[in-house]
Amino acid sequence: MDYLALYVTIKLALVTTAVLMVIAAPIAYILAYKHFPGKSFVEALIYLPMALPPTVIGFYLIILMGPRGWAGGIWESLTGGSLLFTFLGITIASIIYSIPFAVQPMKAAFQKIDRRLLDAAYILGLSKRAAFLRVIIPNSVSGIAASAVLVFLHSIGAFGVLLMVGGSIPGQTKVASIAIYEAVEMMDYSAAGFLALGFIPISYAFLLLVNRLNEDSRT
């Protein structure tokens, strides 16, 4: 069994989830509470990765992160290395690929909070920022957890985007889904089978967790 690929997968999913929770919280807050012209366009843009084929996202990321793209160019002038075919590269790809799954449940959780709780917090002297940290976040724990689980599941399943941006470098960018694909290509069905089997209990357990969290937030 290709433990290295499994390790890269888990590492990638954990990093993606951690980073996305921090990025998505303010985005979800703005989408839930602020009104500004063009908001629906911005919101649709944030959800776009969900609607695009992964290879299309992968294609644009290659353009962007390649040596002639602006992200790749800046990175190269700073470090001298390439963004493509690195763990950092697939992490960025995975984050962009999973953004909608982080933002949507969080936004829903924030919107469910009674506006009067925020009024009460302001009257008790809390700034908007303090109210976000002390009132909104603690009262949307189950929504945030649901979003974390969804992001985690979504990023362990990523394939097309990662293959395009990262290729298949063992220990770096070769994740389990790519390892399975390659094993099948080489007719190594037993290796593919073991890896594939590993996914089922993980995904199933996490889905049970999501359902549990959704039920908790309903009561």
């Binding site: 009024d119 009460a120 002297g125």
Partner: protein, 237 residues
């Protein structure tokens, strides 16, 4: 400290336009039919809503002045506000709720004893009764040492017995408070029982005759049909 306010705001069905003053230690009860703009007035005093015109002056501080574009946010007004229904933070127990913005945490214990909820400190808001929640909400407001206390129908969601008990506790408390208190209700009993001063508000305007008309049910007056919810009989204490 005296609160004085002149407020104008265009609402959907009528224009709100009135002015009043309320000195320290006095309880002004704002009464009138539901949907008459009482909560909007309270929200403007709290800084949660902006009047279109007018001014709110507290002591020597200007909280709002449309002409000079002054609007002090609710965070800086340091007031206590008890809402119509429970707005305790569901993730915190009663003690943490009351201590949320307390000036001195030790006072919370005193307040909890005063309001007879000290055995419920560790309970979350959903685990206690409505009356206990409102008691806690009052403790939360008082622990902040408010300079102005706003009570927006604080007992209207409670059963009659609990309401009457809390009403009396509040009346006893009134003497100890050193701030203006504004109490909103649509219940005439409550108004007559608690008030130092009554401000009837109908369709966003001060209507001194409303109370009289509602009690006597003078025929032909429009306000009667939208009058107080409790029947006349309950006026007999």
């Amino acid at each position: 400290m005296t609160l004085s306010a002149t407020l104008k705001k265009r609402l959907k069905y009528f224009d709100l336009e009135l002015s009043f003053t309320c000195p320290t230690g006095r309880m002004m009860v704002m009464i009138g039919p539901s949907g008459g703009g009482k909560t909007t007035i309270i929200r403007m005093l709290a800084g949660l809503a902006k009047p279109d015109d007018g001014r709110i002056i507290f002591g020597d501080e200007v909280w709002f002045d449309a002409g000079r574009c002054i609007h002090i946010p609710p965070q800086k007004r340091r007031l206590g506000y008890v809402f119509q229904d429970y707005t305790l933070f569901p993730n915190l127990n009663l003690y943490d709720n009351a201590a949320f913005a307390a000036v001195d945490k030790k006072e919370v214990d005193v307040l909890f004893e005063l309001f007879k909820i000290d055995h419920l400190k560790k309970r979350r808001p959903h685990m206690v009764s409505g009356g206990e929640r409102q008691r806690c909400a009052i403790c939360q407001a008082l622990a902040r040492h408010p300079r102005l206390l706003l009570l927006d129908e604080p007992f209207s969601a409670l059963d009659v017995i609990t309401r009457r008990g809390l009403r009396e506790e509040l009346k006893n408390l009134k003497g100890k408070l050193s701030c203006p208190v504004i109490y909103v209700t649509h219940d005439i009993n409550e108004a007559l029982f608690l008030a130092d001063e009554i401000l009837p508000v109908v369709d966003g305007k001060n209507d001194d005759g409303w109370l009289q008309r509602t009690i006597t049910r003078e025929p032909g007056s429009q306000a009667v049909s939208r009058g107080a919810r409790e029947p006349r009989l309950s006026l007999v204490y």
